[in-house]
Amino acid sequence: MRLEVFRLDLGMRRRLLAVYTLGMALYALIIVALYPTFEHSTGLDNLTKNSPTMAALFGASGSITSPAGWLEVNLYANFFPLLVLLATIGYGASSLAGQDEDGTLAMVTTLPIRRRRITVEKSLAMAAQAVVIVSVSTAFIAIGYTFDITVGVADMLGASVGVLLLGIDLGLVALVVGAATGRRGIALGAASALGAISYLVSSLAPVVHWMRPMRFASLFYWSVGNNQLTMGISPSEVAVLVGVALVLVALSVLAFERLDLH
């Protein structure tokens, strides 16, 4: 299997991916390097200790000046998944729908490559980009061990896996919508809206009673919203996220088979 579509798409995005990953990694490094400055800030801790709603909005589940709380509030509950989602949703929306709109997809689909293979290779290309961003960022976060950030290694890696799978899932949502509609804008909008709602539900469920049952429908809950940074990611959470990804790939294949291209 030569994976020509996979290689082409990654090759075209390699510089963007490198710069993007570096930016995310440097942000992570700055956050962990700042930890000693805020480690003993009781004022900051009181901000969320006295207000569960504020804590929920920040994505904090405990003390935000603890090593896990610091990483959660500044990275894992928001910016880290957000930046991974920007990359995966952006690629998911552009890889089929966007390339159809700009006309380059016709060149690929009139080559002797099956549509289902094009879809699978593009899904793999998206996953590969997410792996690069998440793994390099995680490596930079791990530098935090030299700045008093002492979370369990397995827990942190588990939370990073959660971010990775969340990014892949929502990127695949963009891919499915793009494959079904052929419209990049619709794909971007739908996946971003789903991501935003998913985030809100996951973060507000602990304090908004009627939202509690809805958290199970939130991809954020299964990836970063259920104390994964302190308790690790469970096999069932991984299974849910991987299962969703597989269903979305299957839906993308079906949708792209039916799409009328330009």
Binding site: R2, E4, V5, L8, M12, D102, G103, T104, A106, M107, V108, T109, T110, L111, P112, I113, R114, R258, D260, L261, H262
Partner: protein, 310 residues
């Protein structure tokens, strides 16, 4: 379906039956019955919006028909599209290439995707069309980008070429080289389906022409037959002015007399006209064959929406 070379299968290179595509209630292609024989250059003519590009997209399985079927090289356009794409070269009307790539890299990538052993034929064509393979595509002029499209369509020496407005942006010299390439392609037994609104170009290279209007095939015939049925202009000079009413005979549509010069629009056999003219002491007679352009306009003027493909 075994992946055997489709050329070994007898029959037409392209055959559609009742091919129809409807977008939101509008028929882009309607009941299209088309047959393109192997080894011919078939000109597919029509104005913008007539359904040429949609027909091509249906043939290549880029779009799915609302009704009807299409077969290419004896194979089903949808079910056997993988094999068909291996043996078909396609040049889209609106060519989009990956701008950041060098031409050489683009060719290499397509060669790998097509499982070609090398890009020798593409390099030969690049030399023939004076195309620099080391340039980035985003740096190329429209004409040079079109040359890249031509290379991509021809590089695997396909059995069937489907070309949508292929000379768009090419200068006259390159158009000439491209027409030569088409003739060589047909001479080697391969088929060319050439969609265009460049009537002169089609007239020069096509064996047969199909005219499409509002998604329907209005006419398909060899260029000579289309011309024979089209009105041509006849100019006759007489010794003295003549009464134009004497030319009110079958086949003569329009008569204009300017002194001793009579200009007539004639279709069908010219014999009855010559018999009348001979009695009036003619001095000279000149005929102007209908150009494909005139013929095209004539068919468009005459064909109503109920016309059927021939």
């Amino acid at each position: 379906m075994p992946d055997t070379p489709p050329t070994t299968q007898p029959g037409p290179a392209i055959e559609t039956s009742g091919l129809t595509k409807v977008f939101g209630g509008t028929h882009a292609v309607r009941d299209l019955d088309l047959r393109v024989e192997a080894g011919e250059i078939f000109g597919f003519l029509g104005p913008n919006g007539a359904g040429k590009t949609t027909t091509i997209r249906l043939l290549l399985d880029l779009q799915h028909p609302t009704a009807g079927t299409a077969r290419l090289l004896g194979l089903d356009a949808h079910g056997d599209c993988l094999v068909i794409h291996r043996h078909v070269g396609y040049l889209p009307g609106e060519l989009s290439l990956i701008g950041r790539m060098r031409v050489r890299d683009q060719l290499d990538w397509v060669a790998r995707a097509r499982n070609l052993p090398d890009t020798r034929h593409a390099r030969d064509l690049a030399e023939r069309f004076d195309l620099d393979l080391n340039r980035r595509i985003e740096e190329l002029s429209k004409g040079n980008r079109q040359k890249v499209g031509i290379l991509l369509a021809f590089m695997h020496e396909p059995e069937l070429l489907i070309l949508d407005e292929p000379t768009s942006g090419l200068d006259p010299l390159m158009k000439d080289r491209f027409e030569q390439l088409l003739r060589e392609t047909a001479a080697s037994g391969r088929t060319v389906f050439l969609s265009s609104h460049e009537l002169d170009e089609v007239q020069r290279v096509a064996d047969r022409v199909g005219l499409i209007k509002e998604g329907r095939l209005v006419r398909a015939d060899v260029v000579e037959n289309l011309r024979a049925k089209a009105p041509r202009t006849v100019e006759i000079s007489f010794q003295d002015p003549v009464d134009p009413s004497v030319f009110a005979i079958d086949g003569v549509h329009k008569v204009t007399a300017t002194g001793a010069l009579v200009t007539l629009e004639v279709s069908g056999p010219i014999g009855p006209l010559l018999q009348v003219a001979a009695q009036l002491h003619p001095i000279d007679l000149v005929t102007h064959e209908a150009s494909l352009d005139q013929l095209f306009l004539e068919f468009y003027r005459d064909s109503g929406s109920d016309d059927h493909a021939s």
